[in-house]
């Protein structure tokens, strides 16, 4: 469904763009329908850049990203089938508007002729899928909701569109531990209903919890990839091994 072929991103910096930084270097992978793929990497690994390129928010320097055979483009048609949720829930909402402004924008952009009744039914359905009730959300400003609730509202927004692919970029790293797992479980449920997810994270245990395939990124390149249980049980690459060793465990020791 989603295919990245030898994708690279180069940024020009310095006076008159004299120097360049290769944030993503020759990355290729596939995402099948209903599959959760985690992109795991530390800061500077290029994982967020890949997510943005898939969504057409950042331009691709080299290579191709195709969705069902067509190049991805920042168009309404593409956004009906693929959406994203980002890391900071409080940055994702415009503070001058109420939280349901994000729903109104979707309605304007994609369902301009929908009747009120049909729209409210759709909304109720989407909110139900993320375990929120309309009273929790309507009439409230973003600062009145918690981070966890805001992330769920964003997932509900994506669900309004009946998408096939969700790019989840560090969506729970800014949430409290007690709410993280609930949002994560939500993603797991959605996957069971057929949604494909690209799960971008730096946290190996989260990737292990939820994904079918794992891709480890380092400095913009893929250093290891494969089915999740395999990558975690038998890491081939030195870097993966070092990462796994550095993860702090509740039960078990670093030494």
């Amino acid at each position: 469904m989603l295919a990245l072929d030898d994708v690279s991103k180069t940024y020009r910096i310095g006076a008159f763009g004299s120097r360049s930084i290769r944030a993503v270097d020759g990355v290729s992978f596939r995402v099948e329908p209903g599959e959760v793929v985690s992109l795991i990497g530390e800061s500077g690994s290029g994982k967020s850049t890949i997510g943005r390129m898939i969504l057409g928010l950042t331009r691709i320097t080299e290579g191709r990203i195709t969705f069902d055979g067509h190049d991805v483009a920042p168009s309404r048609d593409f956004y009906r089938r693929a959406q994203g949720v980002f890391q900071d829930p409080f940055s994702s909402f415009n503070p001058v508007y109420k939280a349901d402004h994000v729903f109104a924008t979707v309605r304007e952009g994609f369902f301009p002729h929908e009747s009120n009744g049909a729209w409210h039914a759709k909304l109720a359905h989407a909110l139900d899928a993320v375990a929120l009730s309309p009273n929790d959300v309507f009439g409230k400003y973003p600062h009145q909701l918690s981070g966890g609730q805001l992330q769920r509202v964003l997932v509900a927004r994506a669900l309004l569109l009946d998408i096939e692919l969700l790019i989840a970029d560090e969506i729970i790293s800014m949430l409290d531990a007690s709410t993280r797992i609930d949002v994560l479980n939500l993603l797991g449920d959605l996957k069971e209903h057929g949604l494909a997810i690209v799960f971008i994270t730096h946290d190996l245990s989260l990737g292990n919890y939820i994904s079918d395939k794992t891709i480890i990124l380092r400095h913009g390149r893929i250093v290891e990839h494969g089915p999740t249980p395999q990558v975690f049980a038998h890491p081939q690459d030195e870097y993966t091994q070092a990462l796994l060793e550095a993860v702090p465990l509740l039960h078990g020791s670093w030494r």
């Binding site: 928010l57 900071d88 415009n94």
Partner: protein, 299 residues
């Protein structure tokens, strides 16, 4: 990179509470209250004053160089040539506010257009607009005005306002560009893009409302700035040629040695008025900054 868990206080008040909170601080902020009172008082004077003037501003009717009296409505006295200082004063006051609004408004519009576009688009568009901003910033406005003055037989208030508007926008554009830059990187702009919104709508619906307090303060500064520039231009004789303004009153009074002749009623009112308006606008702005910026507030 792992991020720190973010905490935002879960407030019970809704948006009207934010407005109420702003008002609470607004009414307590001395600078804002004093500044806006003076400005409003002058504005009121400018609106109502001309209705009370008994003589046309440029008419040579009264006694020469007479001090303020209550007879005949020469409340501010007369000039060396027998003109009614009060009439000139209120006329000038009205003109000052007109130039401020027009000149400031034009500068604000151009500044917003350039600033938003440069900040949102970045890349080559940004570089070109930056160059344009820098060029206009560096143009010697007086020299330009002298050249224009030489070619125009009659200069009106409109011309003056347009000129001020077209030459004083660069710093506003710069400031708006910088603010837009920081807002464009926020995720809600990406969210709007993911909903199929076009750039123009994103700028006006998502970005500008976040800067509303900033834009408001900027307009006040441009307003005061325009009045000051107009007064300066008038003082050196480059003002409108078909009417009398506060700056021109000061120019004429100095030219006619009003200081030496102790005709204080001629140069004191316009000078004080300009100082009061521009000064109170700036003070108001500082007060507004404290109201809008939670970090500067004192509890």
């Amino acid at each position: 990179m792992s991020a720190t868990v973010v905490h935002r206080p879960v407030a019970e008040e809704s948006r009207p509470g934010v407005v109420r909170e702003a008002l609470h601080f607004a009414l307590r902020n001395r600078k804002l209250v004093v500044g806006s009172s003076i400005t409003l008082a002058m504005l009121l004077f400018a609106l109502v004053g001309p209705l009370l003037a008994r003589h046309p501003a440029l008419e040579y009717g009264g006694r020469l160089s007479s001090a303020p009296t209550t007879t005949d409505g020469y409340w501010f006295g007369t000039t060396l040539l027998g003109q009614d200082v009060y009439a000139q004063f209120v006329n000038g006051l009205r003109l000052a506010f007109t130039v401020g609004a027009l000149g400031g408004g034009i500068a604000a519009c151009i500044g917003m257009l350039v600033g938003f576009t440069a900040g949102y688009r970045s890349g080559i568009v940004d570089e070109i607009l930056n160059m344009l901003t820098n060029v206009v910033l560096v143009i010697p406005t007086f020299a330009l005005l002298l050249v224009i003055a030489a070619y125009l037989k009659v200069r009106g208030v409109m011309t003056e306002s347009v000129f001020i508007g077209v030459t004083s926008w660069p710093w506003a554009a710069r400031a708006i560009r910088a603010q837009t830059f920081s807002l464009v990187s926020r995720d809600f702009v990406d969210m709007a893009r993911l909903s199929g919104r076009r750039s123009g709508r994103i700028i006006f619906q998502e970005i500008a409302p976040n800067m509303s307090s900033y834009l408001f303060m900027m307009f006040i500064l441009l307003f005061g700035n325009a009045i000051l520039i107009a007064a300066t231009l008038d003082f050196i004789g480059l003002g409108p040629s078909n009417t009398i303004s506060l700056g021109m009153m000061m120019q004429l009074s100095v030219q006619n040695a009003a200081l030496q002749l102790h005709l204080w009623w001629w140069f004191l009112p316009p000078g004080l008025a300009i100082t009061a308006i521009v000064g109170s606008l700036y003070v108001m702005n500082v007060g507004l900054d404290e109201v809008f910026n939670p970090k500067l507030r004192q509890l």
